[in-house]
C-alpha cells in the first residue's frame, strides 16, 4: 500500500527533530562559548570525540546513559585544550579551533578502529503518555528518545540562565566588554573557561547522540560536517538559545528530507540530494549575514579577542 502524504509528512517531521537534536545540543553549547567571547570552531572534532567516547563507554558498560555522561565529560576535557590555549595563552581562537578539529578527527579515528562494525546500546523511543496522542504534533514531538526530551528541557533552561540570571548577565557582559566585567569583579577567565567547557560537554552530547541514538554504531568521521553547520546556525540563531531550536530543526528537516525524497520517487541524483543540508546551511548563513548587515546586529563585540588585564 502507498503511504498517504500526511503519514509521510509526519514521518519527515519526526525525523527532522531527531536529525536536528544533535545539532541543537552543540548549538546551545557554542552559543554560551561565543556569548562569553570565545569562538570554538573545533566543534566537529569535539563531536567526534564525544561520539567515540560515548560509544565505547556505552558499548563496554552496556548502558547508553553512562555513555552519554562519558561523552559529555570527554567533550569538556577535550575543549579544555582550546580553553587553555586561547584564554590562558591567548593564542588565535580560529587556529586553535581548527587544530582541535583535526586532532579530534585523528584521535577518534585512532581509538575508534576496534569499534568499527560493532553495534552498541541505544536509546529507545518513548511515547509520552497523553502528549503523544495529540494529532500530528504528538507524533512529531513526543514519540522520541530520552535525549530528545533532554534537549526540550535544556533549551528553556539555557534561555532562562542567559537572559534572566546574574550568571547570564555576566556571560553576556564578558563577551561584549570584558574590561567592564572585570572592573566590576566578574572573573573573565572563570566565565570563559566555564562557557568553553560547557560548550565542549554539549558538543560531546551531540556527538554521543549520533553514535548512541541516531545510530547505534561508530563510523569514522560520522559527524559529517554537523559541527561546521552548527557554527552557521549560531549566527542564524543570533546567539539566542531559543532561536537555536528553530535553526536546528530546519537543518534536521533538510537532512530528513534528502533521505526520504528518493523513497517518494522524485528524480534527483542522489549526490545532489546529499548536498542539500550543506547548501541549505550556506543559504541560511547568507540570509543571516544580510539580515545582520541590515539591522546592524551581530556577534558579541569581544568574540575572538583574548583578554588581558595588565597589558598596556
Amino acid at each position: 500500500m502507498e503511504a498517504s502524504p500526511l503519514v509521510l509528512v509526519v514521518a519527515v517531521l519526526q525525523a527532522a527533530v531527531r536529525s536536528g537534536t544533535p545539532i541543537l545540543f552543540v548549538c546551545i553549547g557554542e552559543i554560551y562559548a561565543e556569548r562569553s567571547g570565545v569562538l570554538n570552531v573545533g566543534l566537529e572534532g569535539l563531536m567526534l570525540v564525544g561520539a567515540i567516547a560515548g560509544f565505547s563507554v556505552g558499548y563496554s558498560v552496556g548502558n547508553p546513559v553512562v555513555g552519554v555522561i562519558a561523552a559529555a565529560i570527554a567533550g569538556a576535557l577535550f575543549s579544555l585544550i582550546h580553553a587553555y590555549v586561547t584564554i590562558t595563552l591567548r593564542a588565535d581562537q580560529i587556529v586553535s579551533g581548527l587544530t582541535l578539529t583535526i586532532l579530534g578527527t585523528g584521535i577518534s579515528g585512532f581509538f575508534g578502529k576496534p569499534m568499527i562494525g560493532q553495534v552498541g546500546p541505544g536509546f529507545d523511543q518513548i511515547a509520552i503518555p497523553g502528549l503523544s496522542s495529540i494529532p500530528i504534533l504528538g507524533q512529531v514531538l513526543f514519540r522520541q528518545d530520552a535525549m530528545v526530551y533532554l534537549s526540550y528541557l535544556l533549551v528553556p533552561i539555557a534561555w532562562w540562565v542567559m537572559y534572566k540570571t546574574h550568571l547570564g548577565l555576566a556571560i553576556r557582559s564578558v563577551g561584549e566588554n570584558p574590561a567592564t566585567a572585570d572592573s566590576l569583579g566578574v572573573s573573565v577567565t572563570k566565565v570563559r573557561y566555564g562557557c568553553v567547557l560547557f560548550g565542549g560537554a554539549m558538543a560531546g552530547l551531540g556527538g554521543a547522540y549520533l553514535s548512541l541514538a541516531y545510530t547505534t554504531m561508530w563510523i569514522e568521521q560520522m559527524s559529517g560536517g554537523r559541527g561546521w553547520i552548527t557554527l552557521a546556525l549560531v549566527i542564524f540563531a543570533a546567539w539566542n538559545p531559543a532561536r537555536a531550536m528553530l535553526g536546528a530543526y530546519l537543518f534536521g528537516g533538510a537532512d530528513a528530507l534528502q533521505l526520504r525524497v528518493q523513497a517518494v520517487g522524485i528524480e534527483i541524483p542522489t549526490y545532489f540530494l546529499m548536498m542539500l543540508p550543506y547548501v541549505l546551511t550556506i543559504t541560511i548563513l547568507v540570509l543571516a549575514s544580510r539580515a545582520s548587515m541590515r539591522r546592524r546586529i551581530g556577534a558579541p563585540a569581544a568574540l575572538g579577542l583574548p583578554y588581558a588585564r595588565e597589558e598596556r
Binding site: T165, H166, L169, N177, T180, S183, G185
Partner: protein, 508 residues
Amino acid sequence: MTDDKIAVALRGITKRFPGVIANDSVDLELREGEIHTLLGENGAGKSTLMNVLTGIYRPDAGSISVFGRTVQLKTPKDAIDLGIGMVHQSFKLVPTHTVTENIVLGLGRGFSRVKLDEAQARVATLSKQYGVKVDPNALVWQLSIGEQQRVEILKILFRGAKILLLDEPTAVLTPQESEELFHTLRSMREQGHSIVFISHKLDEVMTISDRITVLRGGKNVGTVLVQDTNPQDLSHLMVGREIKFATFPKKESRGEQVLEVEGVDALNTRGLPALKGVTFSVAAGEILGLAGVAGNGQQELAQVITGLQRPTAGTVRVQGADMRGKRARHFIDAGVSYVPADRHGVATVGDMSLSHNSVLRRYREPKFGKGPLLNFNAAIGYARRLIKEFNISTPGHATPVRSLSGGNLQKVILAREMTTRHHLLVVMSATRGLDVGATEFVRKTLNDHRHQGGSIVLISEDLEELLSLSDRIAVIFHGEIMGIVDAETARIESLGLMMAGQRLSEVA
C-alpha cells in the same frame, strides 16, 4: 598621629611595566570628605596609581590601607567590597545593555535571578539624592557621553562606595556639563564621600579641589592645600620647568578654497544619521578647528572628507574638484593627508617596521617603485629622513612601530602625512595622550604648516588647543554645525553652549 580621618593611605606604591616604572614609591593620603586632585601630565602615572587602588593592577611594592586597615587588593572585587569605585577615562560600560543591567552587573551570584525592577527603583532614588539624571531603561549606546558618565557614577553609588575615583572626567564634557558634574561632586562631598579627581586642567583643579597632589615621572612631587597654591606653581611642579604654551600668531592672508563641504549627510556604523547638512570650507593657509563633545559626528566627518566613507548626500570638493563617488586612494592622490585619532588601530600596522609604515599611504608613488614592484630601499631611505627631520626616537627604521611610545608613533604618522605632497591635512585628536614636549612639537609643526600655506582641519575635544591654533572654529553637535566663529574673538562660554546644542544665533 591618628588615622581616623584618613579614607585611603597609599604608602610606597611601586608599579613597573616592561621597560618603565609607572609608579615609583608613591605616597598618597585621601581624607574623609575631601576632593583631592591628582595632577600630572600624561604618562605621570596617575591612571596607574588609581588602577592599583581599584585592584586592576597589583603593585610590585608598597601598602594600601583603607579606613585605617591595611588591605590587599588582588582583584577589582576586593576594591568594590571596600567601598572604592572608579570612573575610568574610557567608560567601562556594555553598550548593548541597558543602564540598569550595567549597574547590577557583578552584584549577584550564579543562577540567582536578576531583579531588575528593584534595581530600577534604587537607581531612581540615587538619581534624585545626588542630582544625577538618567533613564534606567535606556540602552547605553543610545546615551550621550555625559549621560554615560552619569551611569558610571550611579554604578559606583549603587555599590555603596564611599571613595570615588574619577579619571579625567571633564575631558569629554562641555564646560557646562563640567559645572554640573562639579555640582554633583560637591553634593557627594557634603554627604561624606571622599573623592579623587584626576585632571591636568589647572583652572578647574583650582575650582573643585580641597587638596592637590602632583605626580611627575611616576613620583609624588608634593601635596598642597588649594588655598596655599596657584596655577603657576602647580604647572611648575607638574612639568618640572616653566611651561609657556606658545600663542600662535594667525596668518593674515588666506588663499583660495582648498576644501569645500556642502550639505553633507552621512550615517554612522549603526546605520543612524551621523551628519546632517554639514557645510563649511577651508582656505589655503588656514586652520579650521572643529569643536564638539566626542561622538557628535567628528569621526564620520573626518572619514567623509578623506574618502574613507561616502556621504549619503551633499558634495565634497578638494581644490575645486568634485570628489563624488571617489575612494580613499583618489583622495590621497588629490592631496588629502590624514592623521586619524586611532594611531594603533587605523594609522599604522603595529607589526610592520617603521619604514614600511612610512610608505603606508605612499607605496603607489613612482618614487617608491617601478611598475608592480615596490622599492623597499627607497622606503628605508625615506624613513631615515623622517627619523632625522622629525626627531623620532627609535632604535632604527626596521623597528616594528608597535614598540614605539605614543609620542614617537604620532611623530611617525605626522611626518608621513606632512611630507607627502598634499593640499589639505585632516588631523584628529592630534595631541591626545602625548606629554607636554610632544604636544608642543605637534602644535608647532601644525602652526608652521599653516604659515607655509597649508590648510588644516583640526578636530579636537580640547577647546584650549583649538583656541590657540585655529583661525576659525566650527562647533558640531549631533552631526550638525552649530556655527562657525573667529577664534580671535570666540568666547569659551559660547563655544560650550554650542557644543551642548545651541546655535550660534542663540548664543551670540
